[in-house]
């Protein structure tokens, strides 16, 4: 859903960091598929948004990369760095606070 994707834009980094905290290392396409699976296809993570976000997080030192040869081709994996592991905790708290504020502002049912 396009509207869904718009709402998720601001939390893309949090989503990436959270996924990587649950999985040791992931590659770009795997992240898109994981998001699709978890949200049952409701949220489609566009590569045009994902890769710049990954590169930005890498440049900020939140992610570390490694390359491996998989089935006769090279794959670039992303993993949380020590800083990234700290950041994921604060990012998740930030997201929780934001959701709580949104519920207050929009009078949403807390169960939503």
């Amino acid at each position: 859903m396009a509207s869904n994707n718009e709402l998720f834009k601001g939390t893309l980094q949090t989503i990436i960091l959270k996924l990587l905290s649950e999985n040791n290392k992931m590659y770009g396409y795997e992240i898109t598929q994981k998001v699709k699976l978890i949200t049952q296809g409701e949220l489609l993570l566009k590569e045009g948004a994902l890769y710049p976000a990954l590169h930005k997080l890498e440049a900020e030192g939140m992610l570390e990369t490694s390359t491996e040869i998989v089935e006769n081709r090279v794959r670039k994996y992303y993993a949380l760095s020590a800083d990234g592991k700290k950041e994921v905790v604060s990012k998740l708290q930030e997201a929780k606070d934001f959701i709580a504020q949104l519920q207050l502002l929009l009078n949403l049912n807390p169960a939503i």
Partner: protein, 228 residues
């Protein structure tokens, strides 16, 4: 669905033809392309492989471009940072003396050579020496494929030192410096300063390119696999 070695080879060749050949883009872009291809393959069992590749490429072209742009921006920011850091490094206490001595040496060298060599010739010799230094240090690593790292550096900063050379050359050509009785000449002082600034710029470029070349060397094993 796993791809055969022949199919993988075909895709590498196909993407190379489509100009997605930079090493850094290949690593991420190609794997992305292969992943989509593996997902799409079972959906089109009757399609011949080359048509399937074309179909996936039409679907992925924007993604590959986005990877290329994103990596380009990241590398640009990274090299700008290294370049500026290297450029301002000489303005610390130790280097500052070296810079002043450099200006003094170049100034006196021009004065000494004033009666023997055409100053324009002097600048041509310096220019050629700079070129040799640049080629020696800025040659890409032994990667056999185009590489974004070194191209970015030479593309971005390569012309700046040359601009200083042209400036000095033209200044000497049109002011035709004549030494005063005390042996001073303003043009020679300006060109000496320009020459030192140019050397600092080249040094910063070399240091920046070394960062790029070292990164390339680190990735060499993966590069061999890409070219296999």
């Amino acid at each position: 669905m796993e791809l055969s070695n022949e199919e993988i080879g075909y895709v590498k060749f196909f993407l190379h033809k489509k100009k997605h050949f930079y090493f850094e883009v290949q690593v991420e872009g190609m794997d992305h392309f292969f992943s989509v291809l593996e997902e799409e393959k079972p959906k089109y069992p009757s399609l011949i492989f080359s048509d399937l590749v074309n179909l996936v490429y039409n679907k992925c072209a924007k993604d590959l471009t986005s990877i290329q742009i994103s990596l380009g921006k990241r590398l640009q920011a990274k090299y700008n940072y290294v370049f500026i850091k290297e450029l301002v490094k000489p303005f610390t206490n130790g280097y500052l003396t070296f810079v002043i001595l450099g200006v003094f040496a170049y100034f006196n060298l021009q004065r000494l050579l004033h009666d023997y060599i055409n100053p324009q010739g002097f600048y041509l010799i310096v220019g050629i020496l700079n070129l040799i230094v640049l080629f020696k240090y800025m040659a890409p690593s032994d990667l056999l494929i185009g590489n974004y790292l070194t191209e970015k550096i030479s593309g971005n900063y390569g012309m700046v030192p040359w601009a200083f050379s042209v400036f000095s050359y033209l200044l000497i050509k049109y002011t035709a410096p004549i030494l005063t009785t005390s042996g001073f000449n303003l043009t020679y002082l300006i060109t000496a300063i320009a020459l030192v600034i140019k050397s600092l710029l080249i040094n910063a470029m070399i240091q920046t390119s070394r960062v790029g070349v070292n990164e390339c060397l680190k990735m060499e094993v993966t590069s061999e696999a890409l070219n296999a």
